[in-house]
């Protein structure tokens, strides 16, 4: 029961970081599987069934550009940050760092000190 609860909470916590993780990796253009591998190498495990539809949604929101590359052994769709995506990444990165600073403070007892 407690293990399940912790797992669910951890899942929720990680889910909140997925978009930022994906945007940060797509400063360089990647196709779906190479992005998944890069994320895994950097310690972010994400289901393929979640990642690929997410790329589509981000593209639809105008944060990513995509292009089919047909010169390779088989056609692959490459994704890269759009201009709007770069601005969003910059804003989100700033927000993330601020969040980490605040959370660190909170977890260390905050401005009120420990009892």
């Amino acid at each position: 029961m407690t293990t399940d609860l912790i797992e669910n909470l951890m899942l929720e916590l990680r889910r909140g970081t997925l978009v930022l993780s994906v945007l940060s990796e797509l400063r360089q253009r990647q196709y779906g599987y190479s992005l998944k591998e890069r994320l895994a190498q950097d310690g972010v495990e994400i289901d393929q069934g979640t990642l690929y539809p997410l790329l589509r949604r981000l593209e639809k929101q105008g944060l990513l550009d995509s292009v089919w590359q047909v010169e390779e052994s088989r056609p692959r769709r490459y994704y890269v940050l759009s201009i709007a995506g770069q601005q969003v990444l910059e804003t989100m990165s700033h927000e993330w760092r601020e969040l980490v600073r605040v959370m660190d403070q909170l977890l260390e007892g905050g401005n009120h000190g420990t009892a």
């Binding site: 196709y31 779906g32 599987y33 591998e37 289901d47 393929q48 069934g49 979640t50 690929y52 539809p53 997410l54 589509r56 639809k60 089919w68 088989r74 056609p75 692959r76 769709r77």
Partner: protein
């Protein structure tokens, strides 16, 4: 890589048409990447990809309904990919149950009837509208429930049957929608020829047959046939129908020769269906198709010709009303079918033509 294709097809068929081809192509590419990476990690080439590899990769991706739901924008459908398969099953069950219930009622009504043919006609006349009303109400309620479910079900949930222990091996084979079935085409041609010959050469054979008993039961009993179609049918509609049937025969022969639906035959089929809608509409607003002879009615009812005339009027009106209902139903079905055929034209690759 048959399992991969079956999976891609199952995801694609749950997606909007404008999204389907692109997502299918990307999914095929991504799955192939994952499969090649898997065999490459064993130091093997892509020719070593086995069914077990496909099962492992597809299991990791998850059931097609879940993937399709992730790709499809929320609330784009009245009934979305997450619940659609179960919705179809419930629709089939409700339709079957309603049909069965009406058939049982019909059998019960006929069991105690003195005259089978008279009771059959009366029961059918009474039950026809009731059956369609029940069907519309039943299916409407089911659709409403599933539309609500679509909106209240958490996004991570799916009603797909067998979701918990999903096995890629259970994916249905991909149906080739462009391949024609010769048996169906040949049967279609045969029916059309029978219609053309029957209605043009033997118009009086479209009749209601019954046993006429004159005097005592065993004396003078004989089968008689009462023609049903009005002269207006042969003047106003039969020429139009003949054109449609001849074109349909030609189309079926071409399909038999080509073996596959192509863009040209798909467009011809759409034209034929549109022409069918035109004919049905003309039948709905034009002169009546059913025409009963008072002398025949007098013969059936055993009354004098004047009484037969009154019966004829009532019966003709009842039949005309039923015919109009039937025409409305057929018209709606034909329009839906026309929409489906138009969709098939757009999904047919021009290269295949």
């Amino acid at each position: 890589m048959e399992l991969l294709e079956r999976y891609v097809h199952e995801v694609g068929r749950r997606l909007p048409a404008k999204q389907c081809t692109d997502v299918e192509a990307e999914l095929r590419s991504l799955l192939t990447d994952a499969l090649e990476a898997r065999v490459s990690s064993r130091g093997e080439g892509k020719e070593a990809i086995s069914e077990e590899d496909q099962v492992a990769v597809l299991t990791e991706f998850g059931p097609p309904a879940k993937i399709a739901a992730q790709y499809a924008p929320p609330y784009q459908y009245l009934i979305g990919p997450r619940v659609f398969s179960v919705y179809l099953i419930v629709v089939a069950a409700v339709s079957g149950a309603l049909t069965l219930a009406h058939l049982v009622s019909l059998v019960v009504a006929l069991r105690g009837a003195a005259s089978f043919s008279g009771e059959l006609g009366r029961s059918l006349l009474e039950m026809g509208p009731g059956y369609f009303s029940a069907l519309i109400a039943g299916l409407g309620s089911v659709t409403l429930v599933f539309a609500i479910l679509e909106r209240v079900l958490p996004t991570s949930e799916s009603l797909e049957l067998g979701d918990k222990a999903w096995d890629p091996r259970s994916l249905p084979a991909v149906q080739d929608r462009d391949r024609v079935k010769p048996a169906g085409l040949i049967a279609g041609i045969a029916v059309l020829v029978i219609l053309i010959v029957g209605l043009n050469l033997y118009p009086n054979n479209v009749a209601m047959s019954f046993v006429h008993v004159s005097g005592t039961e065993d004396v003078g009993a004989r089968w008689v046939a009462m023609p049903l179609l009005a002269p207006g049918f042969f003047q106003a509609y039969l020429p139009l129908l003949n054109i449609a049937w001849v074109v349909a025969i030609v189309l079926n022969v071409i399909l038999l020769y080509q073996g596959r639906w192509q863009l040209g035959t798909r467009i011809a089929d759409v034209g034929l269906s549109a022409y069918g809608v035109f004919i049905l509409y003309r039948m709905l607003i034009g002169p009546p198709m059913i025409g009963l002879n008072p002398e025949w009615i007098a013969l059936i009812t055993g009354k004098v010709a004047s009484a037969g005339s009154a019966h004829t009027e009532i019966l003709t009106q009842m039949l005309a009303r039923q015919m109009q209902w039937a025409l409305v139903v057929v018209l709606v079905i034909t329009i839906v079918d026309l929409g489906h055929k138009v969709y098939l034209v757009f999904r047919t690759r021009p290269g295949a033509a």
